[in-house]
């Protein structure tokens, strides 16, 4: 139980073990622990950021969807108005065309009537002369009675 060289030996061993621990054991373990802690903290922060991003993206998607719907509705409305307008225009055109055709037909008829009247007038003069010849028994000089005949024709 006396104090011997063992004390010195143990002191030397103490320094050697502490030195080995300080050089080879403590740093790698604590560094790995610190690095892991940082990794976990980063991971958690990233997850939080991601969930925030997701929330934002969802909000943006909802907004965009709403916009798209509104736009689509506007487009449909415009198309409907355009279609109605086109139908209206077509109707208008058709009506105008119809009126024009009717007018042309009416003019044709008028022309035909006039021509028939003209022909009839000539025929009346001839017939009148022929009738008169028959009545008088002699030829009527058409030239002499031209004025009379024209007058007659005008009265028709």
């Amino acid at each position: 139980m006396s104090i011997t060289l063992t004390l010195i030996g143990q002191s030397i061993a103490f320094f050697v073990f502490v030195w080995i621990c300080m050089k080879a054991i403590w740093p790698p373990i604590t560094e790995a622990m610190a690095a892991r802690q940082k990794q976990i903290a980063d991971g958690l922060a990233a997850a939080e950021r991601a969930s925030l991003d997701l929330e934002l993206a969802q909000k943006r998607a909802t907004d965009e969807l709403k916009d798209a719907k509104a736009e689509a509705a506007a487009l449909v409305e415009e198309a409907r108005q355009r279609a109605a307008q086109m139908v209206e225009e077509a109707k208008e055109d058709a009506r105008a065309e119809g009126a024009k055709l009717l007018e042309a037909a009416r003019a044709d008829i008028e022309r035909e009537v006039n021509r028939a009247r003209e022909t009839l007038r000539k025929d009346v003069a001839v017939l009148a002369v022929a009738g008169a010849e028959k009545v008088l028994g002699q030829a009527v000089d058409a030239g002499a009675h031209a004025a009379l005949l024209d007058d007659l024709a005008k009265q028709l």
């Binding site: 139980m1 030996g9 002191s11 073990f17 403590w26 622990m33």
Partner: protein, 300 residues
């Protein structure tokens, strides 16, 4: 037992408290004197002491091979376990061993952070870890039944003495405390300068003109640190070991054997607390002393 004589309680206890000593024989040894009959040695020879008396006659020039050897083995076990963990250290998912080691490292790290208030010392935390685990391992040897290893050593290896608990040897505990003391002195001088360290011892707590009194007071205070550190651990573990030995003496006869078994179990369970606590105290005080060594006192 050692001498093969009749087994007495005194002899049994004596045997358990004797170290295996390798040392230098001097004139006082019977085997080195003229009338020696067998196993004679010359004065100045080195060899193993065969009896407790021989061991104590060797004086300072001797090594307690058993406690020193177990201390080194346990220290190497510590380095091996923690070194393996350090090699495995990864930022990924830690394995079983690394988990265990990290728990201890984290515990020590927190403790040193809260106790040691000076930054930039890379030695204190690893030193605390080494002290805690090493002392714990040395104390843990106390829980091995007292006769197992000495019995094997004596009957199969023919080693006469075998003290297996290094921390029941004051050389070991004071040796570690001396190591801590040297660190205290080293850091005191490093941080305060030789004059600063001296003035802390000489000009405090009384005025400067009373410096001899101060020097004595503070000197005792300084020396008391390693001495109390080493002797506290030694005393606790020596007492614990002693009780185990005394309980072991009870065996023989049914009633006494049962009582001895119960007592041994109870004491061992209580001792689990003691060995952990003593390792912890040794570590914390070492850190506290080193923290004080770093404190630069304001002028008085």
């Amino acid at each position: 037992m050692a001498s093969g004589g009749p087994l007495t309680a005194e002899g049994y206890i004596q045997h358990h408290l004797t170290n295996l000593v390798y040392g230098q024989f001097n004139e006082g040894h019977a085997r080195a004197q003229a009338g020696c009959q067998e196993h004679c040695v010359a004065v100045g020879d080195w060899g193993f002491a065969q009896t407790a008396e021989e061991a104590s006659q060797m004086g300072f020039m001797a090594i307690n091979v058993d406690t020193m050897g177990w201390s080194l083995v346990l220290g190497l076990i510590f380095l091996f376990i923690f070194g393996r963990a350090a090699k495995q250290a990864t930022t990924g998912v830690p394995s079983g061993l690394l988990n265990f080691v990290e728990t201890i490292v984290d515990f020590i790290d927190d403790l040193v952070r809260s106790t040691f208030q000076h930054s930039g010392n890379a030695l204190v935390a690893p030193m605390a870890l080494t002290i805690f685990v090493w002392v714990f391992f040395m104390n843990l040897m106390d829980l091995i039944p007292v006769d197992w290893i000495p019995f094997v050593a004596e009957h199969y290896l023919h080693i006469p003495f075998m003290k297996v608990v290094p921390s029941t040897d004051p050389n070991i505990t004071l040796g570690m405390a001396f190591g801590v003391f040297m660190l205290i002195v080293y850091y005191s001088i490093l941080k305060k300068g030789a004059w600063g360290f001296f003035s802390e011892l000489a000009f405090h707590p009384f005025p400067k003109w009373m410096f001899p009194v101060n020097l004595i007071l503070e000197g005792v205070n300084l020396i008391a640190k390693p001495v109390s550190l080493g002797l506290r651990l030694f005393g606790n573990l020596y007492a614990g070991e002693m009780i185990f030995i005394l309980i072991a003496l009870m065996y023989g006869g049914l009633v006494m054997s049962v009582a001895g078994g119960v007592l041994q179990l109870a004491w061992a369970l209580f001792h689990v607390l003691v060995i952990t606590l003593q390792a912890f105290i040794f570590m914390v005080l070492s850190v506290v002393y080193l923290n004080q060594a770093h404190d630069v006192m304001e002028e008085h």
